[in-house]
């Protein structure tokens, strides 16, 4: 019953990719010339594990490739080789290559053998040069050792075996070896007890016996020696061949001596990794459905909660449901039970949610490498600081926030941080700083990308915007508005376009991607002192704390995080602009009024504003007041995608099912605010949807 080892492949790939991340960040942290031993060790261990695993699971090319890295790292580890920039760079490139090789192995696509061969050559060149001068070690198995001939007159082997006193202390039992010998042929054992002391002097943990073993079998001497391989240093041991009738001394061989010969056989030239055609015509395996690693605590918390739930259920179940005789005391118990149930449900939900949460370090990990590489390319000096790596974020959000983050960090490196000489001239330290900070705030995760670079040049942004006809020539804009311009499609301020952050496409895409995640992005900047991007993300995409509002007969859900306040409209605070836009004065602010019934085409009795309810919402830095008929309760709702089940609709971010089974739409506050400023296109008008859904 052979075991199918492919079942362990997924785990192997997962841990190997983790190992590569460890190697990468370790390599980036190495100080050239004065490398920290622990770091080198952890890099070595990761390479070692990948090599061991890939060899075990049959990824020979990966194993061969990793071998070179491992050897180099081993030499760095034991101090026989200095850590040089060249070797670190080569190792970093090898990490990339290895990542691709592993990815290709996982997806069953061909490996880029050429790149691997080139890097392997470079690694070997490093190994061949310099201090240690050690030969690449043999990867040959012991099977390549010379096999001694079994002579024609051979009958068997005579073995004299005297364990040293402490052999038993390594857990080696002579009986095991004898049993194994017995499997090779006919074995007779003669024990020599002459060294056995009297009982008083006997230490039961020591070995005093020796044996003469006669093995009549037609086997090679290697087979016999193999059985004693583990104890060759813990015993006196010699084998002689038995020929004809009498044992002959000529073939005697001393194991201790032969052990010395057993040094690695001269290395076979390492073959370049050959590209293997993909196994079968299978297209790239879909890794989206890949597994997620969950710490035991989280699972335990979940099991714990389920336990609580069961207890609560049995508690409610114990209430005898005879409703004719349902007195107050039972009513109270029922109410207690339901309260408990509500708490259990919420906690259970949180525990389940936590399973999907990963520390944001998953998204931050790639940046040290990126900063390192780009700095080399651009001759800039930048230090990357990260805080809050342990802040947890939903896996889906994490995957989608990666690219926008990369874009923003690249921008900071390319356009934000100045060249060292410019910085010196501006009385700043030569080394610029980019900070990545993650933290919780309210129901959101905040990610800050902060640089101490040149900051935005407002005049230049304005000039560009006028040139691109994004704003009018004489338009007066607040600072925030000016910074907002960079998120406009097709905007770029870099005078020289570079291949690092591209042609300024992107900022609008960045903003859109973040909006799609239910988040927002703000920017503040101070000329000469740097720029800060602040991304606000929801904790999870699956559940939302909502305020239920009523418009006519329809119920809508407003995300609680976006509600600033709710108030009753007083006529004197309403202003009309140009006869159509209605503004409401909230303290010092004027905010536009969004008539929900108009927006969604619902018939309502009350159409005048006086006395109506205004829910003040904020999204994307702008506020608006939603005119609704009634405020209902607050509750958590499970978000169902409208896009996958129907189609995207402006002003609506999704739908949910309420307790009574009816469908309610979840409002997209940012979208609504935009809609209130720019009238909707006919095809996508929310009221079409409201009718269809109704």
């Amino acid at each position: 019953m052979a075991i199918d080892i492919t079942q362990f492949h997924e785990t192997f790939f997962e841990e190997s990719f983790e190992g590569l991340d460890i190697m990468e960040s370790g390599l980036l942290n190495l100080d050239i010339g004065a490398a920290d031993n622990d770091t080198v060790n952890s890099i070595f261990r990761a390479a070692h594990s990948i090599k061991g695993g890939s060899a075990t699971f049959g990824f020979t090319e990966v194993a061969e490739f990793t071998h070179g890295m491992e050897t180099l790292l081993d030499e760095m580890r034991d101090g026989s080789r200095d850590v040089t920039q060249t070797s670190v760079d080569t190792l970093l490139q090898s990490v990339d290559c290895l990542r691709e090789m592993l990815g290709a192995s996982r997806d069953k696509t061909p490996i880029d053998a050429e790149r691997a061969a080139v890097l392997k050559g470079e690694l070997e060149a490093i190994l061949a040069s310099g201090t240690s001068g050690s030969e690449p070690e043999s990867t040959q198995q012991a099977s390549s050792e010379p096999v001694s001939e079994v002579s024609a007159s051979h009958e068997g082997w005579m073995i004299k075996f005297t364990p040293h006193h402490d052999m038993l202390k390594t857990g080696n039992d002579p009986v095991r070896m004898f049993r194994e010998l017995g499997e090779l042929g006919e074995l007779s054992v003669v024990v020599d007890i002459s060294q056995l002391p009297i009982l008083n002097d006997l230490d039961p943990e020591e070995s005093y016996l020796s044996w003469e073993l006669t093995l009549i079998a037609n086997v090679e001497i290697e087979k016999v020696k193999e059985i004693f391989e583990w104890v060759e240093d813990e015993c006196d041991f010699n084998i002689s061949e038995i020929k004809g009738d009498a044992p002959e001394e000529s073939a005697e061989e001393n194991v201790a001596a032969s052990a010395a010969e057993k040094k690695p056989a001269s290395s076979a030239p390492v073959k370049p990794v050959a590209a293997k055609p993909a196994a079968g015509a299978k297209s790239t395996a879909n890794t989206d459905s890949a597994s997620i690693r969950v710490s035991i605590d989280k699972v335990d918390a979940l099991i714990n909660m389920v336990g609580e739930l069961v207890i609560t259920q049995s508690m409610i179940g114990q209430l005898d449901c005879d409703f004719d005789d349902f007195d107050n005391s039972r009513m109270e118990k029922l109410r207690d039970g339901l309260t408990l149930l509500e708490r259990n449900t919420r906690e259970l939900q949180e525990s389940v949610m936590r399973i999907r949460m990963l520390p944001i370090s998953f998204a931050f990990n790639r940046f040290p490498r990126m900063v390192h590489d780009l700095c080399q390319k651009l001759d800039k000096k930048i230090e990357l600081k990260t805080t809050g790596e342990q802040t947890e974020l939903d896996k889906t959000v994490m995957e989608k926030i990666g690219d926008p983050l990369v874009h923003l960090v690249r921008n900071s490196i390319d356009h934000g941080i100045e060249m060292p000489e410019e910085r010196r001239a501006a009385n700043k330290p030569e080394t610029g700083t980019i900070e990545l900070n993650a933290f919780h705030k309210g129901g959101n995760i905040i990610i800050e990308i902060k640089d101490d670079g040149a900051g935005f040049n407002k005049d230049r942004i304005k000039a560009k915007a006028i040139e691109r006809e994004l704003i009018g020539k004489d338009e007066h804009l607040s600072d925030d508005k000016i910074y907002d311009l960079i998120f406009q499609p097709g905007f770029s301020t870099a005078e020289q376009l570079s291949d690092i952050s591209g042609r300024g496409v992107g900022m609008d895409v960045v903003k859109r991607n973040i909006r799609e995640l239910g988040g927002s992005i703000d920017v503040t900047s101070e000329e000469g002192n740097g720029t800060t991007f602040t991304i606000r993300l929801p904790l999870t995409l699956a559940i939302l704390d909502g305020q239920l509002v009523c418009v006519g007969d329809e119920i809508y859900i407003t995300p609680l995080v976006s509600i600033v306040e709710s108030l009753q409209i007083k006529k004197e605070f309403v202003n009309n602009i140009a006869g159509q836009t209605e503004l409401y004065k909230v303290r010092e602010d004027y905010i536009p009024i969004v008539r929900m019934h108009d927006m969604f085409g619902i018939d309502v009795e009350r159409k005048n504003l006086e006395g109506g309810l205004l829910v003040v919402v904020e999204g994307d830095g702008k506020k608006a007041g939603l005119l609704v008929d009634e405020l209902l309760g607050q509750q958590q709702v499970v978000i169902k995608s409208l896009e996958t089940n129907y189609k995207r609709v402006d002003g609506v971010s999704g739908a949910t099912i309420l307790g009574d089974g009816t469908v309610a739409l979840i409002l997209d506050v940012d979208g609504l605010i935009d809609l209130s400023r720019n009238p909707p296109t006919p095809g996508n008008k929310p009221d079409n949807l409201a009718r269809e859904v109704a």
């Binding site: 019953m1 052979a2 075991i3 080892i5 079942q7 362990f8 492949h9 785990t11 192997f12 997962e14 841990e15 952890s42 070595f44 261990r45 070692h48 594990s49 090599k51 061991g52 695993g53 060899a55 075990t56 699971f57 194993a63 071998h67 491992e70 050897t71 070690e137 043999s138 990867t139 198995q141 012991a142 038993l168 202390k169 390594t170 857990g171 080696n172 039992d173 009986v175 095991r176 049993r179 194994e180 943990e205 391989e229 583990w230 240093d233 813990e234 040094k263 690695p264």
Partner: protein
């Protein structure tokens, strides 16, 4: 059958070793590094220990040394998983008190053959 402690920082290796052993009817206790392994060995008296050598926190060699200091593990067979490219590790392991070694890469059958020898 026997109760066996498998110590390896690599999840895939641990899974494979543990799966093969369980498949052969053994009880398996898993540990992720030397420190964890030592704790597990103290909590469960096992009749065989299989340990990787290169591990964080406490490596296999140190684990073997620690185990040999425990009265319960003075004579218990301890096998280490080594690679053929690290012959000096074998020696270090032997000096620390290892019974023997299994050379990586190995397949489940080789593993079982070796442990059957030791378990008798």
């Amino acid at each position: 059958m026997a109760s066996i402690l498998a110590v390896d920082d690599s999840a895939s290796m641990r899974q494979m070793v543990s799966f093969a052993l369980k498949n052969a009817g053994h009880d398996v206790v898993e540990a992720v590094d030397g420190v964890d392994g030592l704790k597990a060995a103290q909590a469960n008296k096992v009749s065989l220990v299989i340990t990787d050598v290169n591990m964080p926190n406490m490596d296999g060699i140190a684990l073997i040394r620690e185990l040999r200091n425990l009265p319960d593990y003075k004579f218990t067979p301890i096998l280490m998983l080594t690679t053929e490219s690290a012959p000096h590790k074998k020696q270090e392991g032997k000096d620390a008190g290892a019974t023997g070694w299994i050379v990586k890469p190995f397949d489940p059958d080789q593993l079982l053959a070796t442990i059957n020898k030791v378990l008798g």
